[in-house]
């Protein structure tokens, strides 16, 4: 009988239990991500020393502190440019960015825009818990219209941002939406995303019972989990139009984009060899 959890070899176990609240979905995101990385390592397609995690600020970004891999915890919204900087200098690295909807889609919005446009060779995991968890539940750009948060006591009047549509429009090679209520599917998405060149963008719907749940009447972690599970539907090959969501209509999970265009590193390698090569 084994004494430890099967993922312990990939965790900084001295930091477990995590800082996350009871029932927070973030631990499920980390677990599925590590299982996918483990599969790629065991199959010989990834080297452990070439995998690194980068997070900005927020409960989600804290995820970068738990894996027993190289990692960096950087300024709010700046995980993507930090990771791309490493990737340019060390193209053999597999850079995994973990960030919340605030970190990636709000303060980091400009960075994600251009990383997507460049098809930058990164795996970006954006956890959409529909709120700013760490700072006490303020409205996020992803909060569905009508929902209550700390800063919208009369219901959010604004339209929510759909990052799947943005990522697909700007040219990421892989765009998927998963959910912590479907961890096996999420692991499959991460597994696939890890093998892509160019940008792999995975949005993960997750539960924040402590802050988000409390404001909408589902403070109990299992209740919020069941509520989210009721509102998601899995589709085999959904169209990008189907990715628009609302709390009432629900959320479509699936792989929206899977293509193989040259990534940022390919483009610049070709460019450099052309320019430097002809310069003599």
């Amino acid at each position: 009988m084994a004494v430890g959890h099967p993922l312990d070899p990939y965790l900084r176990v001295d930091r477990i239990p995590t800082m996350w609240c009871p029932g927070c979905g973030l631990g499920v995101v980390l677990g599925t991500l590590l299982r996918a990385v483990d599969r790629r390592i065991r199959e010989g397609q990834l080297k452990r020393e070439n995998v690194a995690f980068v997070g900005g600020i927020g409960c989600t970004a804290r995820m970068s502190l738990y894996p027993l891999f190289d990692s960096a915890h950087v300024a709010h919204g700046r995980a993507i440019p930090f990771a791309l900087g490493v990737k340019i200098v060390k193209p053999e690295m597999k850079m995994i960015v973990v960030g919340g909807d605030g970190d990636i889609a709000a303060i980091g919005g400009n960075h994600v825009l251009h990383a997507l446009r460049r098809n930058a060779d990164l795996l970006v995991v954006m956890v959409n818990n529909m709120v700013y968890g760490m700072t006490g539940g303020q409205l996020a750009p992803t909060t569905p219209r009508g929902l209550y948060t700390t800063t919208t006591p009369y219901g959010n009047p604004e339209k929510e941002i759909n990052m799947v549509r943005l990522a697909a429009a700007l040219g990421a090679n892989y765009v998927a939406r998963g959910s912590t209520t479907h961890p096996q599917l999420l692991e499959q998405m991460f597994y696939k995303a890890l093998a892509k060149r160019g940008m792999a963008f995975v949005e993960v719907l997750s539960t924040c019972p402590e802050i988000f749940g409390r404001h909408i009447g589902f403070r109990n972690p299992a209740d919020l989990y069941l509520e989210l599970r009721k509102r998601v539907v899995v589709k085999a090959r959904p169209s990008v139009e189907e990715s628009d969501y609302s709390w009432e209509k629900g959320f479509v999970l699936g792989e929206y984009v899977d293509r193989d265009e040259p990534g940022y590193i390919d483009v610049y390698s070709e460019y450099l060899s052309r320019v430097l090569g002809s310069g003599g």
Binding site: A2, G4, D8, P17, L26, G27, P221, A222, Y225, L226
Partner: protein
């Protein structure tokens, strides 16, 4: 064979909710942080689906399915 690492459990109850055969329940014993941790009350009912392991956010449960 189901194992609960009780000191990691935060009493969220998600494992109790997802287990299709009701193996787990929240017990009365508390861990060092004061959480009433999950216990495998009916381990003989485990079908080895590992839903609890996959859905536990705290790396506190794992299931070993014996070979053969």
């Amino acid at each position: 064979m189901i194992s609960v690492l009780t000191e990691r459990c935060k009493e969220c109850g998600i494992c109790v909710t997802v287990c299709p055969t009701k193996v787990l329940e929240i017990g009365s014993a508390r861990n060092r942080r004061g959480y009433r941790h999950a216990v495998p009350a009916r381990p003989e009912k485990c079908i080895g689906c590992r839903l609890c392991e996959y859905n536990c956010p705290d790396f506190a449960i794992f299931v070993e399915v014996s070979a053969g």
